[in-house]
């Protein structure tokens, strides 16, 4: 992998010498960034943790981590920024209530200034030992539209113990009375609270909304 060179302001200001390491860095940094070399900026066109700007920073996009946040009944995402679309990685998420049947999403509609009703993205849950996995994309939330939809881009499934594929995720569509943008997502179960697993938020650049 090509080495990334951090070029300080003082190396390129007035009267700074054009040195061999500087010229090598200027030549190699494009390749180093394309390769995702340590220290290079994260390429925004590809999926990356929403809070990670350089490859050597430790952020992983944690929105919920049971070991840090404990049992919570709703999880509200950070605010979506113009120019990006978002996805959520569910890893071993579970409800505390044995009667829970659905994991729901609500999207915050900016013009209406309220969350949509809760719409299932995983239904048919049967147990509070059932763990949810998958990656859910919220498609182009910052583009004003009549409808906003979600899609499982790594298929959402659940397991109980070592039994695979008990339940499959469903895609949600939220219609609005006026064309508008969406600025956050909120997750909840129909019954009970989140009491296991992690949710991470990733994003990638789109060139429609900004």
């Amino acid at each position: 992998m090509t080495t990334w060179l951090e070029i300080a302001n003082g190396d390129v200001d007035q009267d700074s010498p054009v040195t061999q390491p500087l010229m090598t860095g200027l030549r190699d940094n494009v390749r180093a960034a394309a390769e995702g070399a340590t220290g290079a900026p994260v390429l925004s066109a590809g999926w990356h943790p929403f809070d990670k700007s350089d490859t050597d920073s430790t952020e992983v996009g944690d929105v919920y981590d049971f070991s840090d946040d404990g049992t919570v009944s709703t999880i509200t995402s950070p605010t979506f920024e113009d120019g990006y679309e978002y996805a959520f990685i569910f890893d071993g998420v579970s409800s505390s209530n044995a009667s829970a049947t659905a994991l729901n999403i609500s999207l915050y509609r900016d013009t209406t200034a309220a969350y949509s009703s809760a719409i299932p993205i995983m239904s048919g849950l049967t147990s509070n030992t059932e763990l949810i996995f998958g990656t859910l994309q919220v498609q182009l939330p910052r583009v004003a539209r009549w409808m906003h939809s979600t899609k499982w881009i790594a298929k959402g499934h659940t397991i109980i113990g070592v039994t695979l594929t008990l339940t499959s995720g469903v895609d949600a569509t939220i219609s609005t009375a006026a064309k508008q943008t969406v600025s956050a997502a909120r997750f909840s179960f129909d019954l009970g609270s989140f009491d296991a697993g992690t949710i991470r938020m990733i994003r990638r650049r789109e060139y429609i909304s900004g």
């Binding site: 200001d13 929403f50 809070d51 929105v63 919570v72 009944s73 950070p78 605010t79 609270s193």
Partner: protein, 56 residues
């Protein structure tokens, strides 16, 4: 008592040295186009996680 995860959006204006095109003067006093640095205010966005409780 129900607990919720929420994020606060925090916008911070920070002063940064930003490279801009300008005119530099070399030691012989000859002007030429080059890179100069200007202090500019850049808005950076952070999201800070918070747990809130309510009586739901």
């Amino acid at each position: 008592m129900a607990r919720h995860v929420v994020f606060d959006r925090i916008e911070e204006d920070v002063e940064e040295l930003v490279p801009v095109r300008g005119t530099i003067v070399n030691r012989r006093g000859i002007k030429a186009p080059g890179v100069v640095f200007e202090k500019k205010t850049v808005t950076k966005v952070r999201h800070v996680k918070r747990i809130v409780e309510d009586d739901e």
